[in-house]
Amino acid sequence: MRERRIKSKLLSSFLHDPSAMLGSVIVALFIFAAVAAPWITPQNPYDLKAVSLEHFLTPPIWMKGGQTPYVLGTDDQGRGIYSTIVYGCRTSIIVGFGVVLLAGSFGVTMGLLAGYYGGWLDIVVMRCADTLFSFSTTLMAFLLMGVLKQRGIVTVILAICLADWVRYARTMRGSVLEVKEAAYIMAAKATGARDWRLLLRHLLPNAIPPVMVVVAVDLGVAIMLEATLSFLGVGVPMTQPSLGMMIAIGKNYIYAGMWWMIVFPGLALVMLVVGINLFADWLREELNPKLERR
């Protein structure tokens, strides 16, 4: 009964928050584009056989010299900017969700165990986390990409996860420490519930809401981080689409007046991340117990 009330309260607050709705519509659009990429683009810009230098550096279609089907123009290898953005969003979204899923589940597990058992486990995990936290995530991921010789989406996800799981672990641990003292946990303990039951049935569901906020924020962070790494040339390999890589290529052409190569992928990245953040902002306000609204 109580649970349903919370859910309906969430839903009604969501329906009354235009910026949250706008955010989720944007995110939904991007996810749709990423999934449907082959059907909504005229070419696969990363199929080596499909691209030709013949149509390189074409301006957007409404400018002089623009050509169909290159709506937003082409880059210096003859890839359509629009198609590349759509395929690039695919990479962004795979990396974003991959990181959230992997770093999230690892971080949550670590936080849960550290928070519940305390003692040396808590010390080891949290000191590890503190050490990692004292470096900037970008730097950590950059260094890890240097160490991991292989290039690819999986490596990027791994590198970001290794640098990023601490966010989840810390939040989860804090939340667990709070919930642990609650009367119903004591009660469950008193009835002789086993540890795993306590952890999975009682602690996890009740301590997870603050982590959801981290998930939403981290999605945007991971997407930005992938773009940063690719921009710096240590992210996905050149033969895979990435918004960061497009921006890196585009920056060489700004002064040559070929703005479309950097502006459109930049806009796409900003829109995606702003969309996620609008949603995350709303979620934070809803789920943060310290921010009691109305």
Binding site: S19, L53, M238, T239, N252, Y253, Y255, G257, V274, N277
Partner: protein, 513 residues
């Protein structure tokens, strides 16, 4: 949400401030010059960095026994007034008298001996190959030196413009750290200040043996980012910039205040391909097919914007061994497919193309285009481009299969080139050190070794031309692409006279205003 907007605005303002103030306009008057270059110096030890970028700085603070002058890079006297080659192994240099180092010490034969001995010290030298070949150095009086090599090296004198002579006394008495940061040489310029990551200031050596240089104060600003370098030029903060990206060529050309100078460079960009037994590309037909699948004309037109000329071999025309009878295989994807089918690879094969992404003009873009051409005849190429700092050690490691690289021989002798990049890898003899795909061909090795003691220039030319043809036509050791063009830009109408050198060095005594 407002916080985000505010933060991004702050970031934007900060960026503008940093870029705006980072490059304070320099007072460039008639006797001074500000140059923005693409690579910073690694050190001020003239033997410690054998890259052309490093040597380019050193050539201003130091002199070699010989120097290279003029647009063709002709060998000319410098610290040695003349030289002899009395027998196959000996090189006799007669030194210039009355030359002084920047600390006042006189230049004598002892300094030459000291410098050449220093070459083989791995702690301070990247010229180990040259150092290792020297058997003895004999001093006759104060101004004559006889250098004996262990094996005949016909191109020994050709290398003397990049072995910079150091002062024995001050190099030995100073701490290593000081030697690495403060150059003491006989050169046309003296270092005033080197602020790492910012600038290098130098002032003219008024007592220079060739006469004091025309421009008294030089400020060199290494700016790695091409567009930032371009911005420095457009805003008038730099007089000359090197390494103009091809993408900006048209833009600079249309600016009435600026002038672009292009010069055909000596550097050939080519694809090295291994031939390990069992690999599809060990088959000559496959090598030919890969060659014929690449549309070099389109690469030059589109990726290089016309700033390159097709090459059919690695050495450039002024190099001994260049053979005008070698021609490029025509671009013919249909023929390439046929050859692949004949060789039994109708369905193609997998190969990794490695290459740098921050070394040559449009390097990564060329590699990407090559991958695409090969894909069109069915060869599945995995592209692996990376920063030069990671890529070059892999070349030295010799574990690659297929990579893009550039080369020009500073000594103008193809024999030296081939020993480094075509001879079977042989650590003991120092052969094949840059043969990164471990190409190995016994016949070619024998022919190459046979040229080592041919000194007579004409005979040597003939022998090397034959060897070159064998490598490029009969065996297809490499797939040549093009000679790149060096692009410079400078302020127009400021009375600067600047002719680029073939080796891309910026030698400021050659510039006047």
């Amino acid at each position: 949400m407002k916080k985000y907007i505010l933060r991004s605005l702050i970031c934007l303002c900060a960026t503008v401030v940093v870029f705006g103030t980072g490059l304070v306009p320099a007072a460039s008057s008639a006797s001074s010059l500000v140059v923005a270059v693409d690579t910073p110096p690694r050190m001020m030890n003239p033997q410690g960095d054998d890259s052309d970028a490093g040597l380019s700085y050193m050539a201003n603070f130091f002199d070699g026994l010989l120097q290279r002058k003029g647009p063709e890079g002709k060998l000319a006297p410098a610290l040695a007034v003349r030289w002899e080659h009395p027998d196959k192994l000996s090189w006799k240099f007669y030194l210039r008298k009355g030359v002084k180092f920047s600390n006042g010490n006189p230049f004598t034969a002892a300094d030459v001996k000291f410098t050449f001995e220093r070459l083989s010290n791995p702690e301070v030298s990247e010229f180990l190959n040259t150092g290792k070949t020297i058997a003895s150095i004999k001093i006759i009086g104060d101004y004559t030196v006889v250098i004996k090599t262990k094996v005949p090296i016909p191109w020994f004198a050709n290398n003397m413009h990049q072995i910079f002579i150091m002062d024995k006394e001050s190099t030995e008495s100073r701490k290593p750290g000081d030697v690495m940061t403060r150059p003491i040489g006989t050169g046309a310029y003296k270092l005033v200040e080197w602020v790492k990551g910012s600038y290098i200031r130098m002032t003219a050596n008024e007592n220079y043996w060739e006469g004091a240089p025309s421009i008294k104060n030089i400020e060199v600003r290494p700016i790695k980012e091409p567009s930032t370098r371009f911005a420095a030029l457009v805003s008038g903060q730099a007089d000359i910039v090197t390494g103009v990206p091809v993408a900006l060529y048209a833009k600079i050309k249309s600016n009435p205040k600026l002038q672009v100078i292009s010069r055909p460079a000596r550097r050939c960009i080519f694809l090295a391909l291994g031939n390990k037994t069992g690999a599809p590309w060990a088959d000559l037909r496959v090598r030919k097919a890969m060659y014929m699948a690449i549309n070099e004309k389109e690469i030059i037109q589109k990726i290089m914007r016309g700033h390159a000329s097709p090459s059919s071999q690695v050495p450039d025309p002024p190099t001994i061994g260049y053979n005008p009878d070698i021609h490029r295989l025509a671009y013919d994807p249909a023929m390439a497919k046929k050859l692949l089918k004949e060789a039994g690879y109708a369905k193609g094969f997998d190969i990794t193309l490695t290459g740098p992404n921050d070394r040559y003009v449009q390097d990564a873009q060329i590699a990407e285009a090559v991958a695409r051409y090969l894909a069109k005849v069915g060869i599945r190429v995995k592209l692996d481009v990376k920063p030069k700092a990671i890529f070059f050690p892999e070349v030295t490691g010799g574990k690659l299969d297929f990579y893009l690289i550039g080369w020009f021989d500073g000594t103008f002798d193809m024999g030296r080139t081939y020993f480094k990049i075509a001879h079977t890898r042989d650590h003991a003899h120092g052969y094949g050190g840059l043969n990164g795909a471990a190409y190995s061909n016994a016949e070619l090795d024998r022919a190459l070794e046979a040229t080592a003691d041919i000194i007579n220039p004409e005979k040597r030319r003939q022998a090397l031309m034959k060897l070159n043809k064998m490598a490029m036509v009969d065996q297809i050791v490499w797939i040549p692409l093009h000679y790149q063009e060096d692009l410079y830009a400078m302020q127009k109408g400021k009375g600067i006279h600047f002719t680029p050198r073939p080796d891309r060095w910026m030698v400021y005594k050659e510039i006047s205003r």
